[in-house]
């Protein structure tokens, strides 16, 4: 067991000593209370989340789970490099992430069985194996239900869009999709956020009051209809966002200090990460950033090396650095995942080789909150073809993510017709992540 500081700066092992010696006069109940407080503080620190969706399914073998000793038809072209965390190695084309490896935890040997994009995606973003008859809510929708944010910021923002849907929780927990990605140093024009047409806040307030007085046709039926209920809640929220300057400021990445913004580079993923950081700072609870193009059936190595990895490396490394610099890393749970891994065996359909869908073995990254960075949890076999031991399911990782946010994943919701549904049905919290 490693030692670490609790919130009040006393090392945990020291407690035992203190307890035994009793020089501080701590009683056993005192001690227990203190450790419990420490424990709960430690595990319920994150209040916001950033979710990076690597759409398409990134190759685990060429990023965070390299197998340099595997045969060449599996190993691929990339070599591992050392990181700033002892014993942790990642792909040579992720040099910036290697410098901040102490901030994130790599999960290897995550495994499921859904090899279609849509199903796999639904699985990883909900923590529940998709059912045809029921749509599970995405992690962000659950988060804003459990931890509503300030009303004058959209609680759940997708840059530019996300696979997460509100499912049976209802449309009021749907993400606010920007529909576009911001550009470096340019004002990000999210339409509707700025007061348009010379209207004043006062006039908008008057109009809103009038609307409320007149919008009575469905009065009394809103609770029974998801559509009506959702429209009401969006209306309230839209009004708050429009009348407060906070959202406008936060969306405008050009307002960021140049020194800070520079680190994020100019790629759309990088600038999106900067936006995520600003939104979290302004009070948004959950931001998803999607990074596309990971479906490398063909020319896997070329695509990764030239396009995908450099911007991903720069963006994510800057995000982790930036969150820490702003003092937000402790309160922000970060979750990075694709919908599945890719086949260990390299196909030869293209000159450069490709890898196909492979849900049985994949990687995920966790950071922020109580996650202990600089470690690898879990392990895959010698060809990264399956977990070496038990492995983890997306359900487990979702449960762990919720745990990091202080949300009990076994909590039950009720669907419209009263059916009880657990937030995550089959998951177990992976304790090593926090160890």
């Amino acid at each position: 067991m490693t030692t670490y500081r609790t919130c009040d700066g006393v090392r945990r092992r020291d407690f035992l000593k203190v307890g035994v010696v009793g020089s501080l006069g701590l009683t056993l109940p005192d001690y227990l209370r203190l450790t419990e407080a420490a424990e709960s503080k430690r595990t319920r620190r994150a209040t916001s989340a950033i979710f990076i969706e690597m759409a398409g399914g990134p190759s685990h073998l060429d990023t965070f789970d390299l197998k340099p000793d595997a045969p060449s038809e599996v190993r691929g072209k990339f070599r591992p490099i050392k990181t700033n965390a002892p014993g942790v190695e990642i792909c040579e084309h992720l040099p910036k992430l290697a410098e901040v490896a102490d901030k994130f935890c790599i999960l290897r040997g995550v495994s499921h069985t859904l090899a279609a994009h849509q199903f796999g995606r639904e699985y990883v973003v909900t923590g529940n194996r998709p059912l045809p008859s029921l749509e599970y809510p995405g992690l962000g929708s659950v988060l804003i239900k459990e931890r509503p944010g300030p009303i004058d910021m959209p609680g759940f923002v997708a840059v530019p869009n996300t696979a997460q849907r509100p499912g049976f929780l209802g449309v009021q927990y749907a993400p606010f999709s920007t529909g576009a990605t911001p550009r470096a140093n340019a004002p990000f024009n999210v339409r509707g956020i700025t007061l348009a047409g010379g209207l004043t806040v006062h006039e908008v307030e008057r109009r809103k009051k009038l609307r409320q007085l007149l919008d009575r046709a469905f009065h009394g039926y809103e609770d029974n209809d998801q559509l009506l209920e959702g429209l009401d809640s969006f209306s309230e929220r839209a009004h708050s966002i429009i009348t407060s300057p906070k959202a406008r400021q936060a969306f405008d990445v050009s307002k960021e200090s140049p020194a800070f913004a520079k680190r994020f580079g100019t790629s759309s993923f990088g600038v999106s990460c900067l936006l995520a950081c600003r939104l979290i700072e302004a009070g948004t609870r959950c931001v998803t950033v999607s990074s596309n193009g990971w479906d490398t059936h063909q020319d896997n190595f070329k695509k990764l090396k030239e396009n995908l990895l450099p911007s991903f490396d720069e963006g994510l490394a800057s995000l982790l650095w930036g969150l820490e610099a702003r003092g937000l890393l402790e309160s922000t749970a970060v979750f990075v995942t694709g919908e599945f891994g890719r086949t260990p065996k390299i196909n030869s359909r293209s000159a450069d080789g490709g890898r196909d869908h492979y849900p049985r073995c994949m990687f995920m990254l966790l950071a922020g909150g109580a996650v202990r960075g600089g470690q690898v949890v879990g392990e895959s076999d010698e060809k990264a073809a399956q977990p070496l031991h038990e492995g983890f399911s997306p359900d487990d990782v979702a449960a762990t993510f919720y745990h990091n946010l202080g949300i009990d994943h076994t909590k039950e919701y009720h669907t419209e017709t009263g059916r009880p549904i657990m937030i995550v049905r089959n998951g177990e919290v992976i304790r090593q992540v926090f160890a």
């Binding site: 999709s177 609307r211 429209l231």
Partner: protein
Amino acid sequence: MTVNRALVRCRILTTASPYRVSPVARLLSRPGGGRVVAGMAAACLLLMAGSGVADESIWPPITERFASGATDEVPHFQKHVAPLFSRLGCNGRACHGSFQGRGGFRLTLFGYELDTDYDALRDKESPRIDLQNPAESLILVKPTDEDMHEGGKRYDVDGWEYHVLRKWIEAGAPHEKGKLLHLKSLVVEPAEIQFRQKDETVRLRAVAVWADGTREDVTPLCRFQSNDDQVATVTADGVVRSLETGDTHVVVFYDKAVVPIPVMRPVSRFVGADYPEVDTPTHIDKLVVARLKKLGIIPSQVTDDLTFLRRISLDLTGTLPSPEEIRSFLADRSPDKRAAKIEELMETPAYAAWWTTRLCDWTGNSGTQLVNVTPGQRAAQDWYDWIYRRVEQNVPYDEIVEGLVLGKSREEGESYREYCEAMTRIYGGDKKASFADRSTLPHYWARRNFRSPDDRVIGFAYSFLGIRIQCAQCHKHPFDQWSKDDFAQFRGFFQSVTFSARGSDRREYNRLLQSLDIDPKNKNGGQLRRELVKRLRQGQVVPFPEVFVNQPKAKRGKQGAKRRPGRNRQAKLLGAEVVDLSQYEDPRVALMDWLRRPDHPYFAKALVNRVWASYFGRGIVEPSDDLNLANPPSNGPLLDYLTREFVRRGYDLKWLHRTICNSATYQRDWRPNETNLHDEKHFSRALPRRLDAEQVFDAVLAATADTKHNHALKQTLSGRAIATPGPGRNRRRNPLDYSLTLFGRSTRESNCDCDRSSDPNLLQIVYLQNDSDVLGRIRNGGWVAEVTGRKAQPKRDNAKNKAAAIAQRRAANLQKRLTQLQKQLRVVRKKPGQRKQAIRLQRQVTQVRKALADAKKQLPKASSKAESELKWSLPRAIEDAYLRSLSRPPTPDEAAIATDFIHESKSPAEGIEGLLWALINTKEFIVNH
């Protein structure tokens, strides 16, 4: 067992007519009763099937026959062994059904490729069965977990499953490859379950009827699935348990059969004889109420005239009714005014435009996919125009589809040059020529996402069959009968059509270029295309891209003998026969003939279901493009009736619209009663739906436009969303496209109905509340000006704005100077002896005054004066605001609230503007109710 309380009916899958055999079925359902009455049941089943020999008996279930190992029976691979693998879950995706296999053993996903599976069992490298030592076979020692099995224990040593597999191996693992037995039907009893209370149970029994007449109780070999486990659950042994009220289906799978069994529990006590009298003026209503009666759901009342008018205008024409229309409809006292309105609306341009838009959704008209299909990117517009003409003329649906399915660029007998000449006329500005004149729509085949045979099979199946066949591209469809083989054999119909940018007649193509003095070698693709567009504008005949049918080339055989062209070319229709393609110059003709068969299981049904879904927010089969055996309609007789009649009436689209819209079912109120509060699939009330993207855009346009413009919007459709051909390439730049994308207009990417979305989201509401487009339209759309007499503010025009600002500054300076001069003048006048100076000052004042007057003339007209008064009376203005947005007059309370608001506003114009804003932002506006 509470089966005696359940309504028991017996139905044969292959025959449509239900047959009551409740006493027998009841006996059968008793534990152990199966054998006693086996003979009787067989007789009964035979009677119903109307074939076979009477003295044949039903084989008892395999669980009994193989309870102990003491039997001489040899299990059959297709009948017993393969289904057992499915039942035990061996061929699931997580296990050996995975494409990578599991533990070195791979079965086909969900079974059904028997020979492949058989080979996997007999694999030379690692056989799964051991004929020498049957007991050592892996399929016996692994699943019993005697030898470590990753998938855990699946059955017991000495269990019936064990005996079945062991007996089969001991008999030498017989299986005749390439020979599939034909399962005639799977008879499941009871054929329908009606529960009364929670936790009641019914045991299902499934009898397989094979083509050779053998019948076997295969219940233990079936897989069972509940479509809604809130209503009912089903165990692996087929015991159905009742949970909540409502209805669903339990689906039984065996071999190729997929049999859905309706299960229901009424939501109220109003069932059967206790059901109240409900008016059912049309056949649709009778069929809907028949279903509701079983469920204890009482439908809502027929809605009032105003709600009806708004709903029918939106649904039938995608358009809000205008204030004049509403007034005259209310004033109309004739009893059949609703039917008359429906007829009237079907004659409007908006009807044609709206249903063209929907047909473009279903068939996949997308500018993005049609890039470079025609010069100048007009293909999407062509597609729209072509369909519009036909919807307007009410061309039968099958003929419209024929134009797509048999689409090719050249008319019959037209040479490539003649084709190019004709197209040049259409594109070159001949006002009388239109693409709609062409007899087919070749662009359907030219889309980028519709060029490979596989994509074509998938897209075609979505569009015209309403089925999702893509599963079968790689494996057996998990919920339907389609196998990989079906998919592969169907593909043959889609292989002979080609799109070529340079046409099919290369020589003529080059000649045309030569005559235009263009050398293609000097130009890249883009340059050449631009050059051709230029020439086209000048009226010159340019070569056009072409969709054509390849003529099979005569191939030489191995011996050099010339083979007959197209020999051995075959393709198989889905669920129907193999077609010899060599009989067809264009194999798509066979495809079209097949669609046209009066008893086609999908073609008309898919369309009818989609049209229904457009009116009710959900299909009779939902999702509306997912007709599959395991996803039965919520009201089968209703879908069958509409389909049958639609075909009988020659695929008459207007008949379909008329029939649905005139039903009481369509005209019901949205307000629920106690029994139908949760009903979303039996059409007992209108479900509030968010307006479709195009409707939102057009509704804002119409609500803010002045009376004259509003009228024009209905007549010419100019600037309307329903008149645009669909998503194009310059999506972001166009305000119309921004709004349509935001509100979920169909992306037309996959031909799936899910390409369109009507979910609300925050950004949409932000758009309505605060987007400059919407606010600008409210202020300057015309109506506010019409009411207040205020001129619409000039559009943002930078040059003009600049000029105005200069004039303003100049005027301000002059005013200042004038005030100064006048002050000086007053001072000077008081002092005697300064007359000369006074005159000079006076002259200056006159000059400045004149300059100021000139400068003021250049200022934008001051509006404060005009705004202080309204051109219309306030009550009239308020009523009009209501009619044009919510399609109803305000209540006295609402009128009073609006009046107060306007009085408290800075000016009446601002008040009117605020009122219109508020109305557009009510739920009532954005919801079709």
